[in-house]
């Protein structure tokens, strides 16, 4: 394909804030969804020919969102332009484009909000930085709201907790409402509705893939580890991102999930109806889609009669499961309405619903129900990349911050050599991989590579200082993104893998000599 070659920015020895390069990535745009993709989701197929119609529809939708979401309303009003967030976004750090500063990304919408919804902007637009919604503004939204990975890093540092992800979601929702959707995300959502997962893998193919996997694991271990699909009466329903079924390195973690359940003697199953943990409805900020996609998990759980619902290694999927499923589907506890109670009385209240696979594995380790040969991982010197949506949008275990400790506890239980990256790049301050939130598409490769810069710098330091050769993570998007982006920075693609890949390597299945 013609176009400038994509090059990784140089790693900086002392990371400093980049100088502004206005419009550096203004032309980096993802493909626009076609009518065939848009219409089945209930969105207009394309932009109206008449601008006024698009304009009115966009402003109308914005008004509706302002009434539906307190987050949007408060965040539009509360920003004082203090600048604390300006150097926090990985896309800004990688590109220097000022519109990738969180506050500037918000202002793309705030300027329009002020013009149409505040007295000051109606009367003195220039004074308060308000502007009319024009086609150029809408195009700018399309560029820059698709250069945000909804990672929430900026929200950690904002004195008012303004979360740019909420504004990006609203921006994308308005774009969809006027027929200006993104091909990548909306095509995937269509596949979930038609087939059941993001990758469009139909039920029979899934069963076939997994029986092949059973044979491979049997050859490797001599054990009959099972990877069942749609087994009624299983105790656990495992919902995992569909990349886990065949992509590398994702499949290695899937093998690990099966081994954990096998070693602990827990019956479990995948579901062909809910063969996707990911929920791109969140990426596009559309509650109806978020809701509809999540219903598949509820339906599968009811049909299969499972007692527990467990979620595999996926960042935003875990955020949706942990923070939103109880609201959307009743998967959780503490409800008193018939819709949710129907499911909650079926689920075993002794367990967290839903649970993260890392919570399950760590509980089993603490109970002494899993045995490991840690030396099996001795060829690996491991670090851990906290995935943004797990870090800042969810929790694991019983206390705030368990989402940082539990994966690390597991790694230390299954491997001897572990080194954390610099503290300002992990935990709640972790940097996004650069590919999350609906930007994991080839035409956005330029910003994906540049957005990975801060993580690559932190990785380079532990590679140099500690000889790290394996970066573990618990997100399908992180795995896919790093596999592609690591080589741009001179690292091996295979350096990234899952936490349960490490578990899989070290776990003893009971037939060892």
């Amino acid at each position: 394909m013609a176009g400038p070659e994509i090059k990784a920015p140089a790693l900086r020895e002392f990371p400093t804030v980049p100088a502004l390069q206005p419009d550096a990535t203004a032309d980096v745009k993802c493909w626009v969804a076609s009518e065939k993709i848009q219409e089945p989701l209930g969105f207009p197929g394309k932009l109206a020919d008449d601008w006024q119609e698009t304009h009115d529809r966009a402003i109308g939708r914005m008004g509706e969102l302002l009434d539906k979401y307190r987050s949007l309303k408060v965040f539009m009003d509360a920003c004082v332009h203090c600048g604390a967030c300006t150097d926090k976004c990985h896309y800004f750090i990688g590109t220097g484009d000022p519109k990738n500063m969180p506050v500037a990304r918000q202002d793309l919408m705030r300027s329009v909000y002020r013009r149409y919804f505040t007295p000051a902007g109606k009367m003195f637009p220039q004074l308060v930085g308000a502007r009319d919604l024009t086609r150029e503004v809408l195009d700018e939204w399309y560029s820059y709201y698709w250069q945000c990975s909804e990672c929430r890093r900026c929200s950690v540092f904002c004195p008012y907790g303004i979360d740019t992800a909420e504004i990006t979601m609203a921006g994308r929702e308005i774009l969809d409402a006027v027929g200006y959707g993104q091909k990548y995300s909306n095509e995937i959502i269509g596949k979930v509705h038609r087939v059941g997962n993001n990758l469009g893998l139909p039920g029979p193919a899934l069963i076939d893939t997994l029986s092949g996997l059973e044979e491979d694991v049997k050859d490797d271990t001599g054990c009959d580890v099972r990877y069942p699909v749609d087994e009624k009466g299983a105790e656990v329903l495992l919902v995992t991102p569909s990349a886990d079924f065949f992509a590398e390195p994702h499949i290695e973690s899937t093998i690990g999930y099966g081994k954990v359940f096998h070693a602990a003697g827990i019956s479990w199953t995948f579901s062909s109806m809910a063969s996707e943990a990911g929920n791109f409805g969140m990426f596009i900020g559309n509650y109806d889609q978020l809701h509809k996609i999540a219903q598949r998990v509820r339906q599968a759980a009811l049909e299969l009669g499972v007692k527990r619902i467990v979620v595999g290694e996926c960042g935003h999927a875990w955020r949706v499961a942990y923070a939103f499923w109880n609201t959307l589907t009743g998967i959780g506890a503490g409800a008193n309405d018939p819709f949710a109670v129907e499911l909650q009385k079926q689920l075993d209240p002794r367990y967290k619903q839903p649970a993260h696979i890392c919570e399950v594995t760590w509980d089993l380790i603490q109970q002494g129900r899993l045995k490991f040969d840690k030396s099996a991982n001795d060829h690996r010197i491991v670090t851990f990349h906290d995935s943004c949506n797990v870090a800042r949008g969810s929790r694991m275990g019983d206390y705030a911050g368990g989402q940082f400790d539990i994966p690390r506890h597991i790694i230390k239980a299954v491997a001897n050599k572990f080194h954390d990256m610099a503290p300002e790049t992990i935990g709640e301050r972790t940097f996004c991989c650069g590919g999350g939130g609906g930007v994991l598409t080839d035409e956005l490769m330029d910003i994906r590579v540049k957005g990975a810069l801060p993580r690559m710098e932190a990785l380079q330091r532990v590679v140099d200082d500690n000889g790290v050769n394996f970066m573990a993570t618990i997100c399908a998007i992180c795995k896919a993104q790093f596999s592609k982006v690591l080589p741009y920075y001179g690292f091996k693609s295979g350096m990234v893998g899952g936490v349960h890949q490490l578990v899989s390597t070290a776990i003893q299945l009971g037939n060892e000599q």
């Binding site: 539906k68 408060v74 009003d77 004074l127 930085g129 907790g161 942990y322 969810s394 705030a400 709640e428």
Partner: protein, 240 residues
């Protein structure tokens, strides 16, 4: 002139209270359909109250984000808080002991407030990123606050005004009995700017003050698995 200022303050107070009440009710009425606390977040209500306390009193997130902005912002806000406490003496008769005690601190806090504002304004010129995001209103807001601080300090240290007369004016204002306001150019500018600040408060970024209390990323409890959180408009979707 006294009548003019009296009218100005009645209008400003009405707009300030009415506008702010409207915005607060609007924030409160708008549902938060999903659990979106920025995690790690407190898992209990007292924990959330403590987090909010740290945000409102110590600007915890800003401290994590940028020490310069934190230091200057804190100097301004704490300075302003003390100055406001000091000014209560113009509205209360007799002056409570605590406020009498705070008088000397409030005096120096005025300098702290002005220094913080000057530093914040300087950043809008000197730091490229912040220059980029600054609007005219951001500059004017700082100019307004700095004018208030400067004229206030001026009346204390350079060109005194008749504070007894000022107090009589405001006590009268509160009793709807308009008293003469001492003639003093510094005082006129000071009071006009304060009235203007009250007038723009509900229509400007000064809404960050009530806004923080309604920010879902800060005021929500991290318990989505334990309690079902459902907004009224979202509940309707389940009926379909």
């Amino acid at each position: 002139m006294s009548l003019l200022f009296a009218i100005l303050f009645y209008v400003a107070a009405a707009v300030f209270v009415g506008g702010l009440a409207y915005k607060i009710v609007d924030f409160a009425r708008t549902p938060a359909p999903l659990k979106i606390p920025t995690t790690p977040a407190p898992i209990s209500t007292p924990g959330v109250a403590f987090r909010m306390f740290r945000e409102v009193v110590f600007f915890e997130s800003l401290f994590k984000g940028n020490l310069w902005i934190w230091a200057l912002g804190a100097a301004f806000h704490f300075g302003l808080a003390l100055v406001l406490v000091r000014h209560l003496r113009y509205f209360l008769e007799p002056v409570p002991a605590l406020i009498a005690f705070a008088q000397p601190f409030g005096m120096y806090a005025g300098f702290m407030m002005a220094a913080g504002l000057a530093g914040l304004w300087a950043r809008r010129f000197l730091v490229e990123r912040i220059r980029y995001i600054s609007t005219y209103s951001d500059h004017l807001m700082l100019a307004l606050l700095l004018t208030i601080a400067a004229t206030g300090l001026g009346m204390k240290f350079v060109m005194h005004t008749d504070v007894i007369g000022v107090k009589a004016f405001f006590l009268g204002l509160m009793a709807f009995d308009i008293q003469p306001l001492p003639a003093h150019p510094g005082l006129y500018i000071h009071l006009a700017c304060v009235a203007l600040l009250m007038l723009v408060f509900p229509f400007s970024k000064l809404l960050h003050a009530p806004g923080i209390f309604f920010s879902p990323t800060r005021n929500q409890t991290d318990n989505p698995r334990e309690a079902r959180h459902l907004a009224p408009w979202a509940a309707k979707l389940e009926k379909n």
